[in-house]
């Protein structure tokens, strides 16, 4: 699954570009992929010393509420809260995409993993054939939240919903991600592909799953 993250400001903000967030507080849900995506969007627009973040809640609903209260200048959101924010008049000043990555125990069963990959591959094809049909899942996750419950399928920008059939982790990308995190002091030590990616299990599972991709 490809995750979309957006840097969002309130309707009354004077910020229109990511550069204008320099030295302004941006709430990030530290430790989550959306936070790292937010950090990458910020550092692409300003010197690192100008990046100013504060701890945001894990729940995008709470981060959105904090944004609207003016607790911080911007935050990073994912769907369906990007759509909620847009409907509320908020502006997206930057958008990015990143891979969700499966983390498995060393003893994960190869056949079960391959079955998982085959099923997910089929699901990706179903969704990509008719994304609008499946956006209700984003609403379903937030039952009891009126701002989400009022959304309809046509409210969603399907360009922000991207799915890719699962594949092996490219080592250069894993290495880059590790080195990038280390450069921010978020992770220690040097990247060692042998401890991070079990290539034997990964390769066997993807080979077993390959049949469905050929069909």
């Amino acid at each position: 699954m490809i995750v979309c993250g957006a840097l969002v400001v309130s309707p009354t903000s004077t910020v229109y570009t990511p550069q204008e967030l320099a030295h302004k507080r941006v709430a990030l849900d530290y430790g989550n992929g959306t936070a790292y995506a937010g950090l990458q969007m910020l550092e692409g627009a300003m010197p690192r010393e100008a990046v100013t973040t504060c701890a945001g809640a894990t729940s995008p609903a709470e981060r959105f509420a904090g944004l609207m209260r003016g607790d911080f200048e911007a935050t990073v959101l994912q769907e369906p809260w990007i759509t909620v924010a847009e409907k509320a008049g908020c502006r997206l000043v930057s958008t990015t995409f990143f891979h969700g990555t499966w983390v498995a125990t060393p003893d994960v069963n190869v056949d079960a993993y391959a079955a998982l990959l085959r099923a997910i591959t089929r699901a990706v094809r179903l969704i990509n054939a008719d994304k609008r049909r499946y956006v209700s899942y984003f609403i379903r996750d937030w039952s009891g939240h009126p701002a989400v419950e009022v959304l309809g399928p046509d409210d969603f920008n399907l360009g922000r919903i991207q799915l890719k059939e699962p594949g092996p982790i490219p080592e250069p990308e894993a290495r880059w991600a590790w080195d990038w995190m280390a450069s921010w002091g978020l992770i220690a030590g040097a990247f060692d592909v042998t401890t991070q990616i079990n290539r034997a299990v990964e390769q066997e599972a993807h080979e077993l799953a390959a049949g469905v991709r050929a069909r």
């Binding site: 699954m1 995750v3 979309c4 990030l28 849900d29 530290y30 430790g31 989550n32 992929g33 936070a35 973040t53 701890a55 945001g56 809640a57 894990t58 729940s59 709470e62 994912q78 769907e79 369906p80 969700g100 990555t101 499966w102 983390v103 498995a104 125990t105 003893d107 994960v108 069963n109 056949d111 079960a112 993993y113 079955a115 998982l116 085959r118 099923a119 997910i120 089929r122 699901a123 990706v124 179903l126 969704i127 499946y134 899942y137 984003f138 379903r140 996750d141 919903i161 799915l163 921010w184 002091g185 978020l186």
Partner: protein, 73 residues
């Protein structure tokens, strides 16, 4: 006999493919009994309690205690 696997809870924004596969019976069709486990609400902590270098994350907690084989990061 069906294979079993337990994964940590996913949401649509990062696991739409998993949720659709579950609801469309695609795991079952592959002979996989996929179980999705969630942390008890009282164990869920907010990232607001963390710092960049010492984040508070809920991901991987079930895997760490042997209650799930996989989670999505």
């Amino acid at each position: 006999m069906a294979m079993t696997m337990t994964i940590e809870r996913v949401m649509a924004f990062m696991g739409l493919d998993v949720l659709v596969a579950r609801d469309e019976g695609l795991f079952e069709a592959e002979g996989l009994d996929l179980r999705i486990a969630a942390l008890p609400p009282e164990e869920i902590r907010s990232a607001a309690e963390g710092t960049p270098t010492k984040p508070t994350t809920n991901q991987g907690k079930l895997q760490a205690r042997g209650h799930a084989q996989m989670f999505q990061a």
